[in-house]
Amino acid sequence: MRDIAVVSFAQSPCVAANRRDDMAGFLLPVIRDAVQQAGIDRDQIDFFASGSHDFFEGRTFAYIESLDAVGAWPPISESHVEMDAAWAFHEAWAWLQLGQGDIALVYGIGRGSLPRDLDQVLPAQLDPYYLAPLRPHRHALAGLQARALLDAGRTSEQQLAEVVSRSLAAAVANPAAQKSGAFSVAELMAAPYVASPLREHDVAPCGDAAAVVVLAAGDTARRLADRPAWVRAIDHRMDTHYPGSRDLTRAESARIAGARAAELAGFAGYDVDVAELHVQYSHQEMILADALGLTGALINLSGGPLAGNPMTATGLIRIGEAAAQILDGRAGRTLAHATNGPALQQNLVCLMSTDPA
């Protein structure tokens, strides 16, 4: 295995809606920022990988527009995933492992504000025979999951409010956060439900932002960063498409991805200082902390997705935030988690460390 590290991370502020910039316009400053932090010129980048989804943009091959911000002339080597850009990160890591080059740039674009009504769009990700025709409300499956978790005695509405209160307080220090502030648990619990037992603040606020992570191998990484965030392991697993055949109170695919990553990394969830979890809803923090064995980690110090959720960039931002903890010398071992699909169907786990091996 090659030693591969994150050497820089940048993101644009999460906003409810950006009506000024097209995809290229709001990606370009973020690419500039990440490339400048790494101290490289873009012609030194061997590979580009990105993640976004046409269903948020309303056009086929919408991401092609973003290549204008990459500088695709002369022609470059690039790839795109139609899902969260954390999976593009995985592809770039594998590409570097194969020895195809030394520097890769990964970007994610979240444009959750473009669909006028997410209830028109999100059912399209569901099973087309049994679920999509029912047109469940965008939070319906998460509501079922949260209710099952409460019924199993694994959490309470008070604990959900505590997760939100802690996340939004942490987000005050994050200039990219869309939501932040000091909210008491009592204040949060007085809010109305959107999909009982979930309240509006239990839901990650969908919006717009772009994120960029630069990866480099071996001595190149050592040259580009003082404290590279070495990717010690990355793994992803997926569960069945039909939520009715899963135990929604468990994230078995997250558990397996975490166990496999721990095997590769030589350390596990209970060894990390900091974890960034892709929680689309507050109750998912408990499910993921259980699945990944996060007994001692500080969770979502950035505020996490409950403070800003540019869908399809949100997972990559978790990797960027967990890497930044190491790049800035604030943590020694970190875990990043990303998810895709309804109710934690697909899960990716990335373990990073100040040490390459």
Binding site: R20, R32, G58, L67, A69, A72, L114, R116
Partner: protein, 167 residues
Amino acid sequence: MSAEPGPPLPQPITSVKSPFRMDYTYVAGAGRSVFLRGLAERKLLARRCPGCSQVYLPPPEFCSRCLTELEAPFELDGRGTIATFCVVSFPFPGQTIEAPYVVAHIHHHGADTRLMHLIGDVAPDEVRIGMEVEPVWVGEDQLTTSMTSIRHYRPTGVAIGSESTRA
């Protein structure tokens, strides 16, 4: 010898109705907005890259080769030459113009990129690469921030020579 026939298949379900309707907001972006607003005023606005001097029509916000913001927009007179064209001869669903008709890449005088539009007021078999054309704008009441503000391009009657002979 023939294989043992299996149990009969159930009558297959051949369709399930699940019509999706999705409404989107389209964000034109800063660069496109400049160009589209120009069209509503019968103006073709181009922009030059300060890095490589390429003149874009239509112009994005920044040069996709240099990643540099383009300079201030300036107006072109609209005339240009046909860089390449094709004759659309077949009907298809959603077609708004009656076939046959001509679609062309137009190389505007003073621009380095090509703009795609229709060629009209001329028989398709008389269209040539290198032919000079000019825009035919719609009436005042139909002008809008859209390519449809130009009905089509028509020959000016001046032959300039083929694309390959241009510098």
